[in-house]
Amino acid sequence: MSGYAVELKGVSFSYDGDTVLRDISMRVEKGDFLAIIGPNGGGKSTLLKLMMGILEPERGEVRLFGKEPGRNGASIGYVPQETGHNLDFPITVMDVVLMGVLHKRNIFRRYDAALRTKAKEALKRVKMDSLSGRKISELSGGERQRVLIARALCGDPDILMLDEPTASIDFSGQWEIFELLEELNRKMTVIVVSHDMSMVMGFAKHAAYVNRSVVMHTIDAHTRYQIKRQLGGHEGHYCGAEFWRDMGKKIECNEECRHA
């Protein structure tokens, strides 16, 4: 088996003839913490869905832990960008989180007590355990995203794929969630789409800039440490100008980047 969590070779994808991603080749090592960045409509969500096998590439091939995604039994913790699902549907927070262990139900297709305990623990990690009986439609946007993160965590996944998981979460909440991801990253690969550059620079090991094509950057440990310290020191407000100045200095640009 190869040592890569995700491998894309010459992957192209289009919706109804509109090419969204063209000839992408990239590798994500096991244990990596990869941030996917880029403009709206650049193809970030599409790329993530290709990696999970929700979408099939038009050309090229995708490997997840060395096998075709969708039929390799790898457990994926997916946090979708909040648009797709049916918010009016009557379902409690607890039942949403339990969806993360659907594949572990007993022979009557029911959840055992152990699975319910797991779901409660996952809710505790995102500080949502007090609302477990609430209807999902009665939560705020940020609370709902926390619940979706708990759902992704509770299945003990091999890889976490999060599509803008902190888009409507307040600063200290973002900080906490990225710290949680960093902790989880010791045991699993983490891929996260984010527009929040300060979080990306403070926590991710690599960043993939996606806009039809993909350009990979490495974020070195020193940069991460410094940015994280600055983030903490600025009490939740990292000055934009300062940030871009630092970033210009500190991103280590690789081959592809220089040619782009």
């Binding site: 979708p80 699902h85 549907f89 379902i91 409690t92 969806m99 659907l102 009557f108 299945g155």
Partner: protein, 272 residues
């Protein structure tokens, strides 16, 4: 009004009403949550093709309707998966072609002694004891299927992409659900009619969604509302000699609007 209860045919209609309400209350919430209302309409209208064929060739109307409904469900389920972006067009075609076939078969049928209108709009005279047993058996099957796949259906309804990622057989469940819709349509046909049944699948679900916090409770509420609407509608149909389907639908519409008003007043009351 109470003398109606001494008429055997009316007792049959009432019993059928309760049995149908159970199926409609179980299946309706799932069709609404999975945005299958238009698909259900397509199945219901295509079923008329089976009714016409049965009358023309002289076999059991129930069998003809069931065969047509299941075929329509299979076609629609297939199209909805393979050609998602053109599904509504294709469903519209199944809808109209099925209906047209039914009309032509019945035009060509020798003699004209069957009351075809009753298949479209329902009749309180049409239910016999055999129908009741078939309905009861189907209720049990539907209950068993919904119980067994309860969390799969919940996941499918809330977030189908995630459900599929978790190994839920979403395409199979989609077809299974449309198959249940098909059978519900066929069994409701005599009492409420093919054209009215779609509205009865949606209205109780629409109200109960707001008051329930789980799929199971939404189903229980929908069953209760369906029973109230159908029984009230049947009494009105008896008293004023109306098409039963139409009177059930009008009662349901009043009930749905009343519940909506109650709910909006409740929200205002809280915010004050």
């Amino acid at each position: 009004m109470l003398e109606a209860l001494e008429m055997p045919f009316f007792l049959h209609a009432l019993t059928a009403g309760v049995l149908i309400a159970a199926a409609i209350g179980l299946i309706g919430p799932l069709t609404m949550a999975n945005r299958m209302t238009f698909m259900s309409g397509g199945i219901a209208h295509a079923t008329y093709g089976g009714v016409g064929a049965a009358i023309f060739f002289g076999f059991s109307v129930l069998a003809g309707a069931a065969a047509a409904a299941i075929v329509a469900a299979a076609i629609i389920s297939f199209i909805a998966y393979r050609y998602a972006h053109r599904a509504d067009t294709a469903i519209g075609i199944v809808w109209a072609v099925g209906m047209a076939a039914g009309v032509i078969f019945s035009d060509l049928a020798p003699g004209y002694n069957v009351d075809l209108m009753s298949f479209l709009f329902g009749s309180i005279l049409a239910v016999n004891v055999t129908d009741l047993w078939i309905m009861a058996a189907f209720d049990l099957i539907a209950l068993a299927v919904v119980w067994f796949y309860y969390y799969d259906f919940t996941a499918l309804s809330f977030d189908p992409v995630f459900a599929k990622l978790q190994g839920v057989k979403t395409q199979f469940l989609h077809f299974l659900l449309l198959g249940l819709v098909a059978m519900t349509v066929v069994l409701s046909m005599r009492l409420v009619g093919l054209i009215m049944v779609i509205a009865l699948l949606t209205m109780p679900s629409f109200s109960s969604e707001r008051f329930a916090n789980s799929l199971g409770r939404m189903m229980l509420l929908s069953i209760a509302l369906s029973i109230i609407y159908i029984i009230t509608g049947l009494f009105l149909a008896y008293m004023y000699d109306l098409s039963s389907g139409a009177s059930v639908i009008i009662v349901a519409a009043f009930g749905t609007i009343a519940l909506l008003l109650i709910e909006s007043m409740k929200i205002k009351g809280f915010s004050r």
